[in-house]
């Protein structure tokens, strides 16, 4: 049996589900699945401009593993761009930091103490987990 994968730490899941190519005459039937750890790797490296070693430490994985994930996401994006496939964000071995939402205040927030979950502004207890 293969060794189970170590969970990668993700700070915030993307707030949308993916991308669609524009101007296709018929519906594109292929899709490229980018999992959350790949999304996070790309974000840390190319958006927040961390070095691969720093990014790996933030995701709780080793530097070679990070490089492998990063390489894979770049290939997937290139494939989707060239072939006009849809990109879908899905799955992966991840631990996502939990963000909650209060619909009344329109805010997203983290909790520091799980025993009494409530909105930090209006103190309302009706909060939902943001997924």
């Amino acid at each position: 049996m293969a060794r189970t994968k170590k969970n990668r730490l993700i700070q915030m899941a993307p707030h949308f589900n993916g991308f669609k190519p524009q101007g296709l005459h018929h519906k594109s039937n292929s899709e490229v699945i980018i999992n959350f750890e790949e999304y996070e790797a790309l974000k840390l490296c190319d958006y927040e401009l961390f070095t691969q070693a720093e990014a790996a430490a933030l995701m709780n994985i080793s530097r070679p593993t990070f490089t492998r994930i990063y390489e894979s996401v770049r290939r997937k994006i290139a494939k989707a761009f060239i072939e006009g496939s849809q990109i879908v964000f899905e799955g992966g071995n991840v631990n996502v930091i939990q963000w909650y939402r209060c619909s009344e205040c329109d805010i997203a927030f983290t909790l520091t103490d799980d025993t009494n979950p409530h909105c930090p502004l209006c103190q309302s207890k009706t909060i939902t987990l943001n997924s």
Binding site: M12, F50, I97, D106, F109, P120, L121
Partner: protein, 103 residues
Amino acid sequence: MIISISTNKNNVKATVSPHFARCEWFCLLNTDTKEYSFIENPLFNQQNHVGPHVVELLIKKGISAVIAGRFGAKVIDTLIKQNIQMIIPDSSKTIAKIINQLK
């Protein structure tokens, strides 16, 4: 509880800054008395490592929650270790509105 709000102007009509550390002012809001004060961000023009330094500065002011439009990876890492709550409001929200939502 004291909340820090990142903003670019020092009045309550200003909106929340889209960046946590690279903003010009911090509004320190006491949620119990609804009193607030503004402090200037001394690290605004610094090149690197602004985030962790700002967190250090704000911890000295005794905050237990922060409000900003977006947090960087290192900042989230430090804030979670320090057990500080992060809040991301809608981008158009002003400080006055946040004060009004307090109960």
